[in-house]
């Protein structure tokens, strides 16, 4: 295949995929979130500090701040936003059409990576415009230097986003990383990248934090003398007087450029590595697909061997009116079965292990470690709430049944709550046994909050991904890192003292209302 033809293929693959995505309503929501991120920087909610020193709001300073914000936040959120391009081809059936073309696997994964990068690049462009606006509004230096504004975006952010875009494709092609588990793995990778980058720097600093930090430390020392200064990217209250320096931006030497170029090459490598795992939409190459294909083949064989089956003399017994008696428990049981269907023995063993651990471990450990873990275990089950009707295209079947809002939705929600009660039951027993009634109250709120959050996000996004990402972040910051305002389980004494369970109860009620509104909207067609 000649190079020109390959470039044309990749270009069109990227274009079609990009257009398909940016014409979706969800892309507008993504852009709105990007604008909000820009606003946070503009409003001073997220700032770059070296100790008590910051740069004057000139083009270089604002662009570098923005680039680091992009690298920190978009490398996480952006991954989840773009990690769907291969799956979309699989779901829509376009993949099978592409598989019959001469397009090679590396070209496909490269095209998809570039398409992902184009989407993230769109967000980057929005923030570039936002940076200009921020500089003009701040008014500390009105000389807008478009090049100084562009360089951090292009050289600091673009390589990281390229890596994120390629990693999303890799995760979509590697069996086992396609679904929710892959989302968790990326979260772990991302969590590790920040401290490693800050500590080691150089070629191990894809986010560029160490690079900027070292440069700013030198600049701050030159301006105000040596001192022990910490690097901060976020909101901080200063006890010491604020010092403002003039900073002209990073000096992009060839060595510096090389450290960033390495990550662009790494991104290309990741995109090509994805081709190794890419199954070219051949179901026989994936374990699950092979199972399905085998079952289909078996079915087909049965059909072929029974070429003539006489019409069965079946009489459909008329359904007596008395049997059309709705019983909520029947629906709840059916929803629970749907939720728990197909779980393997190790899942049940894990859930049982957490219950036993909560009964045996010290109460403090139960609250801070084991209960949060026990309520992380069923995350992928909760994430199907509200989304599976869209995912499996069963809306027409379910919504044409009577009272879908009053019957099926509450049963779905209660099945999710029952799962929380089941997996967290050990902790509840401990709270009762030890008379920790406040903790028990917080536990009840947590058991209601998690499935309600899943239901609301599933209903409004039509996907399980949004819940998986938000819940993972919330879980990491709240119960695991003991941030009281994010603690929905009552794990932190401060959270309990501040009445956070009551806040989360209110949020739960709000989310429940949102879920009902979401389903009502779906029913309205």
């Amino acid at each position: 295949m000649n190079a020109r033809r390959s470039v044309r293929m990749v270009g069109h693959l990227m274009r079609a995929d990009f257009l398909e995505r940016v014409r979706r309503y969800s892309f507008l929501v993504t852009l709105a979130a990007t604008v909000w991120l820009g606003y946070l920087v503009g409003a001073g909610k997220i700032e770059l500090w070296i100790g008590s020193v910051r740069g004057a709001y000139n083009s270089a300073w604002i662009a570098t701040t923005m680039a680091l914000v992009i690298n920190t936040f978009l490398s996480l959120a952006g991954f989840y936003i773009v990690k769907s391009s291969v799956d979309r081809d699989r779901q829509t059936g376009v993949g099978e059409i592409l598989a019959t073309t001469p397009m090679s696997r590396p070209l496909y994964t490269l095209g998809k990576s570039l398409s992902n990068l184009a989407v993230l690049g769109g967000m980057l462009a929005v923030l570039y415009v936002a940076a200009i606006a921020i500089q003009l509004v701040a008014g500390e230096d009105r000389r807008v230097d478009l090049l100084q504004l562009a360089l951090p975006f292009l050289l600091l952010s673009l390589p990281m986003l390229a890596l994120t875009a390629a990693a999303a494709v890799l995760f979509e092609t590697v069996p086992g990383l396609r679904g929710g588990f892959g989302n968790v793995v990326w979260f772990v990778v991302w969590s590790a990248l920040i401290p490693i980058g800050i500590q080691l720097g150089g070629l191990l600093d894809p986010l560029g934090i160490n690079l900027v930090n070292r440069n700013l430390e030198i600049a701050a020392t030159a301006a105000f003398g040596p001192a022990k200064r910490g690097f901060v990217l976020g909101g901080i209250e200063h006890t010491e007087p604020i010092q403002i320096m003039r900073w002209g931006g990073l000096d992009w030497t060839p060595d510096l450029l090389l450290t960033r170029l390495v990550w662009v090459l790494a991104a290309a490598g990741v995109a090509l590595a994805a081709a190794v795992f890419f199954d070219r939409f051949d179901p026989a190459r994936s374990r699950r697909g092979a199972r399905v294909a085998r079952q289909r083949t078996t079915g087909a064989t049965e059909e072929v061997t029974s070429t003539f089956v006489p019409m069965p003399a079946v009489h459909l017994t008329p359904l007596p009116a008395a049997s059309r008696r709705f019983r909520f428990l029947d629906v709840l049981r059916a929803e629970l079965r749907l939720l728990l269907q197909g779980l393997r023995w190790w899942w049940w063993a894990g859930a049982a292990g957490f219950v036993i651990a909560t009964l045996a471990a010290p109460l403090d450990v139960v609250q801070k470690v084991i209960l949060p873990l026990a309520w992380m275990w069923p995350m992928f089950l909760w994430s199907s709430l509200g989304a599976r009707e869209i995912r499996w295209n069963t809306t027409a079947l379910l919504f044409s049944a009577a009272r879908p809002l009053g019957r099926q939705l509450p049963a779905t929600w209660l099945a999710g709550v029952a799962l929380a009660v089941l997996t967290g039951s050990g902790a509840a027993l401990r709270f009762v046994a030890t008379g920790h009634w406040n903790s028990l109250g917080a536990w009840v709120v947590g058991a209601l909050f998690i499935p309600t959050l899943a239901l609301a996000l599933g209903l409004w996004s039509g996907s399980s991904k949004l819940f998986e990402v938000i819940y993972l972040v919330l879980w990491y910051i709240g119960p695991m890192n003991q941030v009281p305002t994010m603690d929905y389980t009552g794990a932190t004494p401060t959270g309990l003292a501040q009445g956070m369970p009551l806040v989360y109860l209110g949020v739960t009620a709000l989310l429940l209302g949102t879920s009902i509104a979401g389903r009502r909207q779906q029913l309205a067609g």
């Binding site: 079915g299 079946v314 079947l397």
Partner: protein
């Protein structure tokens, strides 16, 4: 039991009307809804199945407006959408039990009904196999079974024979005929032979409008004496297609035998033949498009 569709219209984005001023009265029997792709059949089906709301007009089920009180109809509705999915990890029995619970059918009655339905749709042997492993035809049969779960008074089936093999198709046609005696069955399709085999009434739809509603015999009478079999050389076929409404062709040793729907014989050698429903359907569509069923000058 009575379904009344009164001046129903459905407007989509971009001011596109999928259905316009559609009026129809239905009682027990099988109504075959015929029309080309994009005619508005599925839009009508979705409105009748309470999935989507009409932009104008109303639909009354036994005198009740289904937009205001959809649950009255939903209790007795069976619906097989053109495009639907299943939960891949459930087997046939589990899936049908789930739908039965959502439809409010008591568990014991549901179990008996599911057993009967699985025999009826020839899935007894595959009943314990996860639906994710089903072929397209098997999945379609599960769709048929779920539509019949609640012994519906109104059964709406949208392109139900898609994916079925010939034998299953015959089986399903017979089933529909049997069911039509005591309930209203709406069968939407563009396969005329499906309608021919089952329908007691036929409605022809195109571009969102009702073109004809009649018994099959009445539609056939409309083209009586206007269908011809004409034997012509293969080379003349392209020109003949441009000048005449040809409903079908088949090749024989003596040339191409073409069925022509026309008020006048296409040639002095053409022989009048008994019309089929396909001829009648094409004639109605041609009339709507303003095509003349006689020789083009």
């Amino acid at each position: 039991m009575h379904l009344s569709i009164e001046h129903v219209g459905k407007r989509y984005r971009g001011d596109f009307w999928g259905l316009r001023d559609f009026t129809l009265e239905l009682g027990p029997g099988v109504l075959g809804l015929l029309g080309p792709n994009g005619a508005g059949k599925s839009t009508l089906m979705r409105i009748l199945a309470t999935i989507t709301r009409a932009t104008e007009g109303r639909v009354l089920w036994n005198g009740e407006d289904i937009a205001r009180t959809p649950d009255g109809l939903r209790e007795v509705l069976g619906y097989l959408p053109q495009d639907f999915g299943v939960y891949p990890n459930l087997n046939a029995v589990e899936f049908l039990e789930y739908i039965a619970a959502v439809k409010g059918i008591e568990a014991r009655a549901a179990r008996r009904r599911i057993d009967e339905l699985l025999v009826l749709v020839n899935l007894t042997e595959a009943r314990k196999r996860p639906l994710g492993g089903y072929s397209g035809g098997m999945r379609q049969r599960i769709g048929i079974a779920q539509a019949l779960l609640n012994d519906p008074q109104l059964l709406i089936v949208d392109e139900p024979t898609v994916g079925l093999d010939p034998e299953e198709r015959v089986r399903f046609r017979n089933l529909l005929s049997d069911l039509g005696g005591e309930r209203i069955v709406l069968l939407s399709t563009h396969i005329v032979s499906d309608v021919e085999a089952t329908a007691t009434d036929i409605a022809v739809v195109n571009q969102g409008r009702l073109l004809a509603h009649a018994e099959p015999e009445e539609l056939l009478r409309g083209v009586e004496g206007r269908v011809w079999e004409w034997v012509l050389p293969s080379a003349d076929l392209p020109e003949a297609r441009e000048r005449w409404k040809i409903s079908s062709t088949f090749r024989r040793a003596d040339g191409v035998h073409a069925r022509v729907v026309s008020a006048v014989p296409p040639s002095p050698e053409a022989e009048p033949v008994a019309p089929t429903l396909e001829d009648a359907y094409l004639s109605v569509l041609a009339g709507h498009r303003g095509e003349r069923l006689e020789k083009v000058a």
